[in-house]
């Protein structure tokens, strides 16, 4: 439901001068929904305005470390946090999906005192057993959502392992089918899951990835996910990007609050226009996007549009159109200047990339490359004031001198620390908020 009081605005920042013969245009698009952040309860109404699926892994490995017990407590806590009237379902997943609440075939209930306790009663007897096929869990959530009438759809997915009992292509197909239908926040517990696998799911479904190293942290984490979800009352905002003939949209990425590549997820709207789903929004929320377009150059002194950006609301209304205007110049002072927002986010993308590549090299036993990449990451983090990232890097490498990027690999770095660094590498600081 789009509140008629809420307005969306898109503001663009770009390097407006291009050197002769070049055509790469970087722009940052800041999208803001007006209004005060709320817990959502006041602004969304109607019995089944929101639908939620709680998906918990109950594969055999969940037996370890009291994970199953903690996961059940977290799922119960999530059920407790649901707003009155939210349609919800609970799915237990192993090598197949089990709809444990409501019983398959029954209509999806909305949250109330009685449905919450019935759901918790269904969660309580779950036991860890079987394998892991995450695609089947997503398929089940999609099937349920397709038969549920709501304004926003969201899933929370908890797993402790990798997708072993399913081909990667099957998982990819399942994710693809869910795109645009619901958002999914993914949480990994323990250290046997694969960051890139869950990140792939979360990126495609516009959610977040989190590492819950200790199962005891699950309950609080589930609560915060559900609370954040309930604030998103403005569904299905799209970025509509026009690019001129001969131009290529090289990248569309969410840049803040986290780095998320949306380039491949565009849906053609017309010959030169592509829509990118930005997901659901909370009133007062702001996100930044980085767009890179390569367009054919014009003569020096000419002006051209590298692109046109607008927002499309759930009801199809277009709003906040702006043109990415560029001018070709032979003045190097102008063409080499990097706009501050663009510099900020390209720097953050570079930092995330250095961390991820460094960890990958570490994983592959290429310690030379890992040292170089993670050293570069330390230097970038120091320069940009990412002290949290620097601290996380410090758990994986000994940082001798952050300013020059001199680091040594820690022989005893724990897997959880590496995964934590990996997961958090995509989180960015908003421009001007460092």
């Amino acid at each position: 439901m789009t509140d008629s009081q809420t307005t969306f605005t898109a503001e663009t920042f770009l390097n407006e001068y291009l050197a002769a013969g070049t055509g790469a245009v970087d722009a940052v698009v800041t999208v803001t929904a007006s209004g005060e952040p709320t817990d959502g309860a006041a602004t969304i109404s109607g019995g089944d305005a929101r639908a939620e699926a709680i998906i918990i892994d109950c594969s055999g490995s969940m037996y370890a470390d009291r994970r199953m017990a903690m996961a059940k407590e977290a799922a119960a806590a999530a059920v407790d946090c649901l707003d009155e009237g939210t349609a919800f379902t609970v799915i237990a997943g192993n090598h197949e999906a089990h709809q444990i609440y409501p019983q398959p075939g029954e209509p999806i209930p909305t949250a109330s005192a009685s449905t919450r306790s019935a759901a918790k009663a269904a969660i309580s007897p779950l036991e860890a057993d079987g394998g892991t096929a995450i695609g089947t869990w997503l398929d089940r959530a999609r099937f349920i959502f397709e038969h549920t009438d709501a304004q926003t759809y969201h899933a929370i997915l908890l797993t402790d392992g990798k997708n072993e009992h399913q081909q990667p292509s099957e998982l990819a197909r399942a994710v693809e089918a869910c795109k645009g239908l619901f958002r999914c926040d993914c949480r990994g517990v323990g250290t046997d899951w694969v960051v890139n696998e869950l990140r792939g799911i979360a990126d495609a479904l516009l959610g977040t990835v989190g590492l819950v190293a200790k199962p005891a942290g699950l309950e609080a984490d589930f609560r915060s996910i559900i609370e954040a979800t309930q604030a998103t009352t403005l569904p299905q905002v799209k970025l509509r990007l026009w690019a001129p003939k001969g131009a290529e949209v090289e990248a569309v990425r969410e840049a803040a609050p986290q780095v998320r590549d949306l380039t491949g997820s565009g849906v053609p709207f017309d010959e030169r226009t592509t829509d990118y789903l930005l997901g659901d929004w909370a009133p007062g929320e702001t996100r930044d996007y980085h767009v890179r377009i390569q367009r054919p150059p014009l003569e020096v002194g000419r002006k051209g549009a590298a692109g046109r950006v607008k927002l499309v609301l759930a009801n199809g209304e277009e709003t906040s159109e702006s043109t990415l205007e560029v001018t070709w110049t032979d003045d190097h002072e102008l063409s080499t200047r990097i706009e501050a927002h663009v510099a900020h986010y390209t720097g953050q993308e570079e930092l995330a990339e250095a961390i991820q590549e460094g960890l990958k090299a570490l994983d592959e036993g290429d310690s030379g490359s890992a040292t170089m990449k993670l050293g570069r990451a330390a230097k970038l983090a120091k320069e940009s004031g990412h002290n949290d990232t620097l601290r996380l890097l410090g758990q994986v490498v000994d940082i001798d001198d952050a300013e020059s990027g001199t680091v040594r690999l820690k022989p005893d770095a724990g897997k959880a620390e590496k995964m934590d660094l990996d997961v958090r590498s995509v989180r960015t600081q908003r421009f001007g908020k460092s």
Binding site: Y17, A243, P244, K245, G246, A247, R272, R295, P296, L298, E299, V300, G301, R302, K303, G304, A305, A306, G307, R308, E321, T323, E325, T327, T329, D330, D331, E333, L334
Partner: protein, 368 residues
């Protein structure tokens, strides 16, 4: 400090000084009166297209690159090329002035202004902001407006009045802020510009120039061709200026007066035009091609001629900003006296353009 009672609406409209927070005297103020900080006006005084009364509509135009349709934002819906920019055109009576960014410069640092003396004589003012200085566009704008403001509606007696206009323009250019130019790294230098003023009385042309902008006397020969005579000499050595307006400037002015007759034309322009026709013979040919054998005595299509000269310079490459002003020498009878208190009801040229003068008023206040 005790502030005079102020209208609350004024307070809301007036920006505060970024340095000391005191409210500025107006949204166009160029200085904070409390601390003396130079301030870049939120909206630099600017001739709006409405002031020219000429349509600036691109509806129905197609893209010059690919013939595609031009969108509402002025860019081609197919290839994204900007529709050709139109010159900023100003008209006053039979005089006109046009200024254009050209093709290669990122912004237009030239400015033009028109004025009319108390006698009804047209005044052309062109200033060209010096690229190697901060806020050159503001220097040019301020200098033009100041010079035009001094001469407008006043009796014109000759060189002394031109000198007064140059002094006012020099002061205004010096007042242009040195900071806040997004395409300039502060290095302690100050805004600078050239200035040329040309006035056509009924029997002479007067000109003054600082820098390398020029004034020409254009005369139609019996055969229909036009000759161009440069009235001023350039203050430049190679491409470097030897005289300019601004706080750093050795502002040496070059004055000229030459007899002329009704039917002759004065022209003032920046080097963005004359660089493509640097000697008088070439300039005369250029003007002949544009004015043809039109009898400018009756109705100078000064506006059209200005636009055609701008277009021509852009076709030659448009390497610099292009500005040109044109006015005919009109017979005395054809012009009504302007701005005289004894003749308040006369709907004359000076009053017709009264709105244009607001920026000038602010400027004069700011100078005090």
């Amino acid at each position: 400090m005790t502030a005079p009672a102020t209208d609350p609406a004024d307070v809301a409209m007036t920006p505060a000084c970024p340095q000391c927070g005191e409210p500025l005297s107006s949204s166009q103020a160029r200085f904070c009166e409390a601390c003396g900080m130079a301030v870049v006006p939120e909206t630099p005084p600017e001739k709006t297209p409405e002031a020219t009364g000429r349509a600036r509509d691109r509806t129905g135009k197609s893209c010059e690159e690919c013939d595609g349709e031009i969108g509402d934002d002025g860019y081609c819906n197919t290839c994204g090329t900007a529709a050709p920019e139109l010159a900023d055109l100003e008209e006053r009576g039979d005089a006109a002035a046009a200024t254009h960014r050209g093709r290669r410069r990122a912004r237009n640092q030239d400015a033009t202004a028109l004025a009319t003396t108390a006698e009804g004589w047209p005044v052309l003012v062109v200033a060209d902001g010096v690229s190697r200085s901060p806020n050159p566009d503001l220097a040019a704008r301020y200098a033009c407006d100041a010079a035009a403001g001094v001469l407008d509606g006043q009796p014109f007696t000759g060189e002394t009045d031109l000198a007064g206009a140059v002094i006012a323009a020099q002061q205004a250019a010096s007042d242009a802020p040195s900071h806040g130019d997004p395409s300039w790294t502060d290095d302690g230098s100050h805004p600078a510009c050239t200035l040329v003023i040309a006035i056509a009385t009924e029997d002479a042309v007067h000109a003054v120039s600082v820098g390398d902008s020029r004034a020409y006397l254009l005369c139609r020969e019996p055969a229909g061709e036009w000759t161009a005579t440069s009235l001023t000499s350039d203050h430049s050595a190679g491409h470097a200026l030897t005289s300019w307006l601004g706080a750093d400037g050795p502002a040496e002015a070059d004055f000229a007066r030459q007899p002329a007759a009704v039917g002759d034309v004065i022209l003032a322009c920046s080097d963005g035009l004359w660089n493509y026709a640097p000697d008088d013979a070439a300039f005369g040919q250029l003007v002949s091609g544009i004015l043809g054998d039109a009898d400018l005595n009756v109705h100078v299509r000064a506006a059209e001629a200005c636009e055609q000269l701008v277009d021509w310079a852009i076709e030659q490459g448009g390497a610099d900003n292009v500005s040109v002003g044109i006015a005919p020498l009109a017979p005395v009878a054809a012009v009504a006296p302007v701005g005289s208190a004894s003749d308040p009801g006369e709907p004359d040229a000076g009053i017709r353009n009264h709105e244009d003068d607001e920026a000038d008023e602010d400027l004069k206040e700011g100078d005090q």
